[in-house]
């Protein structure tokens, strides 16, 4: 149910998505944000794509040091701990 809050247009909503996801919007802005979503399929799609983007970022393959670099570090550690 939309009260008499000033309307939040799509163009502004897209600027607030991270604040919304991080729960950093004021209660009023959060209400405006959610009221807009209930009425606007395009923004629901946008939000879903944004979440999808974050999910995929979190599933990039891990990086790891080469065995040579790791070995060099262990050698350095031995030298350091004998000081």
């Amino acid at each position: 149910m939309v009260t008499d809050l000033p309307e939040l247009p799509c163009r502004e909503l897209v600027e607030l998505v991270t604040d919304y996801l991080e729960d950093r919007l004021s209660p009023i802005d959060r209400a405006r944000f959610e009221a807009h979503l209930t009425e606007c399929e395009a923004c629901r799609t946008y939000l879903e794509q944004f979440r999808e983007t974050i999910r995929v970022l979190g599933r990039l393959p891990e990086e790891s040091l080469s065995p040579e670099a790791r070995e060099a570090l262990l050698t350095a550690f031995r030298g350091w701990s004998r000081l």
Partner: protein
């Protein structure tokens, strides 16, 4: 083969006591375990500043040596991991400068979605609402994880200003909490959110362009 990513909350000051004591006693197992746990993250940060993998590995090694040399002076105002990651950021940035790669701070202005996608402010019925709506990505999850999609994402990350890149790598790729990321990068929470939002928006835009192009063919 795939180990789970170390996530923010699992590492605490409490773990640090034993770890620091172990390192100071020359416990190799403690050292290789912590190198194992954190070097992936460190390498990713280094790679985001320097051209080659070889140089990035050197940066990570330099950072670890700096850590060992300064361990006695570590004041424990943050967790050990936060401190170590802060050191690798500094090493990577200064290496980037010697390689003449500019550390780019992003201009925090300009909309995250191209304004042409929206109706004008004077539209009688829908001012600033979508003109060109985003269309649903009809991509199964599996499709999002294939090599080609990944390279779109990696290219988009590469194209970011380095301050945005650091934040999105630490927050979304490595899964650290905002508090820790602010401490590593020495930025305010608000600034961190601005950088993160701009980075995520650009990656989403790149995916959108990519899916639009592949669906058109």
């Amino acid at each position: 083969m795939h180990s789970s990513k170390p996530s923010g909350p699992t590492h605490s000051h409490g773990d640090d006591d034993a770890l620091i004591r172990g390192l100071q006693k020359g416990d190799e197992r403690a050292f290789s375990e912590v190198v194992e746990n954190w070097s992936g993250m460190m390498l990713r940060l280094a790679l985001s500043h320097v051209e080659s993998r070889a140089v990035a590995e050197e940066v990570v090694q330099d950072a670890w040596l700096t850590v060992l040399r300064s361990l006695d002076r570590f004041e424990r105002r943050s967790s050990l991991r936060t401190w170590v990651l802060g050191i690798v950021v500094n090493c990577a940035r200064s290496r980037a400068r010697t390689e003449r790669r500019i550390v780019t701070t992003s201009s925090e202005s300009g909309p995250v979605v191209d304004p042409v996608r929206f109706l004008p402010a004077n539209h009688p019925r829908w001012p600033h609402h979508w003109a060109a709506e985003p269309t649903e990505w009809r991509t199964p999850e599996a499709e999002l994880l294939v090599r080609e999609t990944r390279s779109v994402i990696l290219d988009a990350i590469d194209a970011l200003p380095s301050t945005q890149r650091e934040v999105v790598l630490l927050r979304d790729v490595e899964g650290l909490q905002s508090t820790e990321v602010c401490n590593i990068l020495r930025i305010t929470d608000t600034h961190q959110r601005v950088l993160l939002h701009r980075a995520r928006s650009r990656v989403r835009n790149a995916l959108e362009r990519y899916f639009a192009a592949t669906e058109a063919t």
